[in-house]
């Protein structure tokens, strides 16, 4: 189910990242004020953009889950949000390094992007504890989707609100992305594409890994008989009911065709 796409994605990611790194180190000019440190901009801003889009995408996938009740959408939503959270932490760390390098402090309140990310991080950090705290798997998926949609809508509004509040204090410290000279703009674009591909690849990887693991579990359970029904281990990850159904079909000897569970 994931194999072919994964290979294409991985290769393109490697190519894109290599190109981006080459451009960053050898092509992009050194910025007048901040010097070499400014190059972290090519990591920090793409991380930020991809993370933000990831959070909003998580919300959109969650909407699909609530509309169709297909657990696969919840799965995708979970993985995307999980990955975006990691990228968000990356944004905070690179932003902090940049702030220390150019402003002297590890944290600055006057940079609205950084502040917004802190708030967004604090919100999404509750996503997994929320999931983990609900035992019933279907309820867990549903509540997680509600959270993902709420939080996804929150992200842009939060950005606007924080930007409004910091407008009075200082002008943007870390520079804006407009008015970039051509070489920098090109490097930035390539970095952005590379980051987006990295995100997509890592999501695919996680989806494929979980899917495979769930298939093995389901087959094992089928072979052992349903006797050891509830294994008891609570998990924050959504369950894959459709995989169980597929495993049942495989055991009966039928082809494991794609199957949409649930009635509406």
């Amino acid at each position: 189910m994931h194999g072919k796409a994964l290979r294409t994605l991985s290769i393109s990611t490697v190519v894109a990242m290599a190109t981006a790194l080459a451009l960053v180190f050898f092509y992009a000019p050194l910025e007048a004020e901040q010097g070499f440190l400014q190059k972290i901009f090519y990591v920090h801003v793409p991380l930020a953009i991809v993370a933000l889009c990831g959070f909003v995408l998580g919300g959109l996938l969650a909407i699909q889950h609530l509309r169709t009740r297909d657990p696969r959408w919840d799965y995708r939503s979970y993985v995307v949000i999980h990955m975006s959270l990691i990228f968000a932490v990356g944004t905070l760390i690179t932003g902090s390094i940049w702030a220390k390098g150019s402003w002297g402090h590890w944290w600055v309140w006057s940079e609205p992007t950084l502040v917004s990310f802190l708030i967004v991080f604090l919100l999404y950090a509750t996503y997994q504890p929320l999931r983990f705290a609900i035992e019933d798997p279907e309820r867990q998926s549903r509540y997680a989707s509600v959270f993902a949609i709420t939080a996804g809508a929150f992200v842009p509004m939060n950005f606007i609100a924080v930007r409004l509040s910091t407008a009075y204090l200082h002008p943007r410290v870390l520079g804006s992305t407009s008015n970039l000279p051509a070489p920098m703009a090109l490097t930035f674009l390539v970095s952005l594409v590379a980051m987006a591909l990295l995100f997509a690849t890592m999501c695919k990887f996680e989806l494929a890994a979980k899917h495979t693991r769930a298939q093995v579990r389901a087959l094992r359970r089928r072979l052992a008989g349903e006797a050891d029904a509830r294994r008891g281990a609570r998990s924050a990850a959504p369950s894959l009911q459709h995989v169980t159904a597929m495993a049942a079909r495989v055991q009966r000897g039928a082809p494991p065709t794609s199957h949409t569970p649930g009635s509406r």
Binding site: T126, R139, V162, L164
Partner: protein, 249 residues
């Protein structure tokens, strides 16, 4: 989404003598729910007194923590809003507990009513708790900590706090419904709410700031009132759209 399951025309039933209306109007259902909430709260006094006392204690703590006899301007706005927000968290935590523990959800879900009636009723309940809280907390704040006269600030303060309350009520109800079915309900309520409430804190504090100073007795900047209003509207709509999914099984 759940459009099919709403606004259903009622169906004829065989039994005639019970004298029941087919599907009670949402307005009446919200009224019945509100009545029940009020009764339970009056009997148990588990939300409002606690919230009010907490606010008063917090003012005292702030006096010692900030080492100030009075606060003004943005410091005053901050102290007031933070106190109200944290007291609100207490109310949010308890909002659905009685229903979850005593099977109230099932009883409601079995009734032939619009499910958003519960959302409306609970939001109005939380709003009422917040208003009562402010009736206690704001005068207390004026007495204990505020360096400037409260009286002239009141009209605009009331307007701003009302907008803040609407936002807190909408988000608080949604988060409370999310948190109540989890194992760590007391913890997740505040953890989920606070980031979501940051824009309200921003709008509320910036709006209230000019009101709480000696010299500038001006009205709040419209920008902040608009921010509050829009945020309230958006989250009200989101809560309205998503609430049904939290109720069903």
């Amino acid at each position: 989404m759940n459009v099919i399951e709403r606004q259903a025309p009622a169906l004829h039933s065989s039994s005639a003598d019970v004298g029941r209306a087919r599907q009670p109007r949402t307005r009446l259902v919200v009224g019945a729910l509100l009545r029940k909430e009020l009764l339970v709260e009056l009997r148990t006094l588990q939300s409002v007194p606690g919230m009010s006392l907490f606010a008063l204690s917090t003012f005292v703590v702030f006096h010692f923590a900030l080492n100030r006899n009075s606060v003004e301007g943005d410091l005053a706005a901050g102290v007031l809003l933070v106190t109200l927000l944290f007291a609100a968290m207490l109310g949010v935590n308890r909002l659905f507990v009685a229903d979850a523990d005593q099977g109230g959800f099932d009883a409601f879900l079995l009734a032939p009513v619009e499910r958003t009636a519960l959302l409306i009723a609970k939001t109005l309940t939380l709003l009422a708790y917040l208003v009562v809280l402010e009736l206690v907390a704001v005068p207390a704040f004026g007495l204990l900590l505020l360096g400037s006269p409260l009286g002239p600030a009141l009209p605009w303060l009331v307007v701003t706090l009302l907008l803040v309350d609407l936002g807190v009520a909408a988000i608080g109800t949604l988060v409370a419904a999310l948190a109540v079915h989890t194992r760590a309900r007391d913890l997740l309520g505040p953890l989920l709410s606070l980031p979501l409430l940051v824009p309200i804190v921003i709008g509320g504090a910036r709006a209230v700031e000019p009101l709480l100073t000696q010299a500038h007795r001006t009205a709040p900047a419209i920008r902040w009132l608009l921010t509050l209003g829009l945020y309230d509207l958006v989250f009200g709509l989101i809560a309205y759209a998503l609430f049904d999914f939290l109720l069903e099984d």
